[in-house]
Amino acid sequence: MTVYLKPPERREVFILDDAETDPRYGWRPEERPVDVYLRYAAINLDKPVGPSSHEVVAWLKRILGIEKIAHAGTLEG
């Protein structure tokens, strides 16, 4: 288990209102039906050393058939 230098955060939440949410609309993220789940999904990719991030994105687009994929930063060596 990795030790991280950034200290864990503890957050206080203030409640202004005891409003509830309507179960007819939206979903808890984990409960989204798969097609919706994929629409709002990301992956934490352990990228292999060889190919560039651009190549990996192009490859994933082809294999998964998903048109919109981007990557969030390459390893700035």
């Binding site: 955060e9 939440v13 939206g26 993220p29 798969v34 789940y37 294999i63 998964l64």
Partner: protein, 245 residues
């Protein structure tokens, strides 16, 4: 992917943590090594290298923390917590310069990018493709849900503002978030910082810039609390309210 891409402008600027092996080109005693390495905590100057996508102007980046885990002769195992866009290769080079013996970056691994770290939901290409194929061909959802994570996980470190259902659709259309629409607010929000606008189900609606501090949001009865910037949720997910939130 898809709608999650909307959060990229914020995610790309997140702080990072790396584990790095720096190789010294000469011998240095432990005490001097510790002393010089700790000098690099705080702001440092860097110019992007020749092979870089960004403009090669000198810029300031912050090293929030550096820790030497282990040292084996000329190999030094370190962990670095730094601002996005910090060149670790250059950092190792500069540490070597100050030590006088020279050094280079031997190996680098990014272990955290914002709220995504290497312990959680890490997937290899094989995992991702297999999971997708299992779902497409056999209808198996579980692997897919293990390796594909909700966009909400990628902005976990941002402070959150929770809105009532009737305020959601207007925000999906880019409307600013006003105080009456807010049901819960996390402490510590400062003006100008990016916050995550969430539904009470924990869905990410949009990212926005805070126009009020947490305390102001608590005491105000009206006014714009957050300026909506990057909308993630599709309009129509929640019904359009006939009056604003």
């Amino acid at each position: 992917m898809n709608k999650s891409i909307k959060v990229l402008p914020v995610v790309l600027k997140e702080d990072k943590e790396y584990v790095v092996v720096m190789r010294l080109h000469g011998d240095v005693d432990d005490e001097r090594l510790e002393r010089v390495v700790s000098m690099f905590k705080g702001p440092i100057y860097q110019r992007p290298p020749l092979r870089s996508a960004v403009k090669r102007a000198i810029r300031v980046r912050r090293i929030y923390d550096i820790k030497i885990w282990e040292r084996d002769g000329r190999n030094v195992l370190m962990q670095v917590w730094c601002e996005a866009g910090t060149y670790i290769r250059k950092l190792c080079h500069d540490i070597g310069e100050i030590l006088g013996v020279g050094a280079h970056m031997q190996e680098l691994r990014r272990i955290r990018s914002g709220s995504l770290n290497e312990d959680e939901h890490r997937a290899t290409l094989h995992d991702v493709v297999d999971a997708y194929i299992f779902w497409r061909e056999q209808g198996l959802e579980e692997p897919l849900r293990r390796y594909f994570i909700p966009v909400e996980y990628t902005v976990r470190h941002l402070r959150k503002v929770y809105v009532r259902d009737t305020a959601v659709d207007a925000i999906c259309h880019g409307a600013p978030l006003t105080v009456p629409g807010i049901v819960r607010v996390e402490a510590g929000i400062k003006v100008g910082e990016y916050v995550a606008i969430m539904t009470l189900k924990g869905e990410l609606v949009a990212l926005g810039k805070a126009k009020m501090r947490s305390e102001q949001i608590l005491s105000a009865k009206r006014g714009i609390a957050v300026k909506t910037d990057l909308v993630v949720m599709d309009p129509g997910t929640y019904p359009r309210a006939w009056r604003s939130g």
